[in-house]
């Protein structure tokens, strides 16, 4: 059951202060409204994972890791690998996060990222079949929110995309195609995970009728609604999700799309830079 979440208590004086700064066209940390905080992406931070990345947007930190396992394909896509996305909000990340199984927010985040990767075929799953119909690579993408200072979705997508793009498939050989026996040398990683195109997610926040990109946690707490827009490097809209208890007008949605199309370029550039720096 989804329950109206407890509203954070924001003193009127703070709300008014945020609003008066936004009215001047700035975030409370003096950035223009559509500017991101400093972005930092480091790939390969977890050597035991086949791919990993730590993404920071300001003080927000998200760690994503990829593990590859041999498994069976889905019956309706016998010649394709399998992608499974999970997300967890670590209790270490915020005093408001509790230990336990993922709540609706973590599930929603994982599913939005899953769709934004799956629909534009970011990973070439068709190249991940080893013995078609029998054995394929299962790509486990796990996202852990480490520190929460707003804009978790954009940071999660940065980490997820960078982790996938830096994933290396271990060396393997098919011992017996009939029985499906495959020998994998987990220590030796050879070819990169085939990636078709890069995507990024830009979340547009509606705060006191302003459209704001990359809010800090303080700002995010007073946002009435959020619209996450995933954009591919070739300019397609590949996923969208309205979140929060407020609404958007048709005009606000159109403006948000334009903002997202523009801002995604910067995000995709920083992912590419981080991935190529490792190679």
């Amino acid at each position: 059951m989804s329950i109206t979440p407890e509203q954070p208590i924001v003193p009127r004086i703070k709300y008014n202060a945020i609003r008066s700064v936004l009215m001047k066209g700035y975030h409370i940390d003096k950035r223009p409204l559509t500017e991101y905080r400093p972005i930092e992406i480091r790939v390969g931070v977890v050597p035991n994972a086949e791919g990993s990345a730590l993404a920071r947007i300001g003080n927000t930190q998200v760690l994503a890791g990829v593990k590859l396992e041999l498994g069976s394909p889905y019956p309706d896509t016998p010649n394709e690998g399998v992608l499974i996305v999970n997300a967890e909000f670590l209790p270490a990340a915020s005093p408001t996060f509790e230990p336990g199984p993922p709540d609706e927010n973590a599930i929603e985040l994982a599913r939005v990222i899953d769709r934004s990767l799956r629909e534009p075929r970011v990973i070439a799953l068709d190249k991940l079949a080893i013995i078609p119909g029998k054995k394929v690579w299962v790509v486990w993408l796990d996202i852990y929110v480490m520190d929460h200072d707003g804009n978790l979705l954009d940071a999660s997508m940065l980490a997820a995309m960078a982790a996938l793009a830096s994933t290396k498939i271990p060396k393997y050989e098919v011992v017996d195609p009939a029985s499906g026996e495959i020998r994998v040398d987990k220590k030796t990683r050879v070819e990169p995970l085939p990636v078709n195109r890069f995507v990024a997610t830009v979340t547009v926040n509606k705060i006191c009728d302003f459209l704001v990109i990359d809010p800090t946690l303080e700002e995010e707490l007073v946002a009435s609604a959020r619209l996450a827009i995933s954009v591919s490097e070739d300019g397609f809209i590949v996923g969208m999700q309205k979140m929060g208890m407020g609404f958007f007008t048709e005009d606000e949605v159109k403006k948000s799309i334009d903002l997202a199309l523009d801002r995604a370029k910067l995000l995709i550039d920083s992912i590419k830079k981080a991935v190529s720096a490792q190679q």
């Binding site: 109206t4 599913r111 619209l227 809209i237 590949v238 999700q241 309205k242």
Partner: protein, 243 residues
Amino acid sequence: MVSVKEKPPLIVDGKRIDGRRPDELRPIRIELGVLKNADGSALVEYGNTKVLAAVYGPREVLPKHIAMTDRAVIRCRYRMLSFSAEERKSPAPSRREIELSKVIREALEPAVMTELYPRTTIDIFIEVLNADGGTRTAGVTAAALALADAGIPMRDLVAGVAVGKVDGVLVLDINEIEDMYGEADMPVAAMPGLNKITLLQLNGVLTPEEFRQALSMALMGIRKIYELQKEALRKKYASTTEE
């Protein structure tokens, strides 16, 4: 075992697989007050998609600690009955149902005047009886009607519909086959009288121009459904007021 099915042609001579034009809704049927115990209820059908919504409240919140001092909480559960789809659905809540319960609650929150009923709860149960595409949007339409049927003050009704892209063509109110084999599925819900979009998701790939067209197509469909909602409410309640 599931057999691999071939994708059928989805658009033939400008007509869709079920014979509709691209911008045509399925036949919509609305029935109000279908449950005796619930404070409000509605059964909504978009073609073969059949969704029941029941509303209880405003009523006492249990456990008490989730109550809010300045407004009612809304609790919402979207659920598919085990036999509602082609494959049996396990009755355990799936990740999809958890997400959709949240998305639907957030689609209704802006409409309900919760500030009138502090320290209470308004419970919304959405049960998908038969799934043929567009169950979440039919669920929103049904839930808004059930809320109105329960006499809960609202700023406007909320109606929803999904737009899809199949074989390169944008189509309104997609069914299961169009969703399964199509290129995009975009559920939208709005308060048509106030021009406020309260639910917007996109699962698929669209160009920015296609998106703009899809959005206006969805809003056009929503306004038609809105008229049917009002008609159903008038039919049940207008005669009562004339007494």
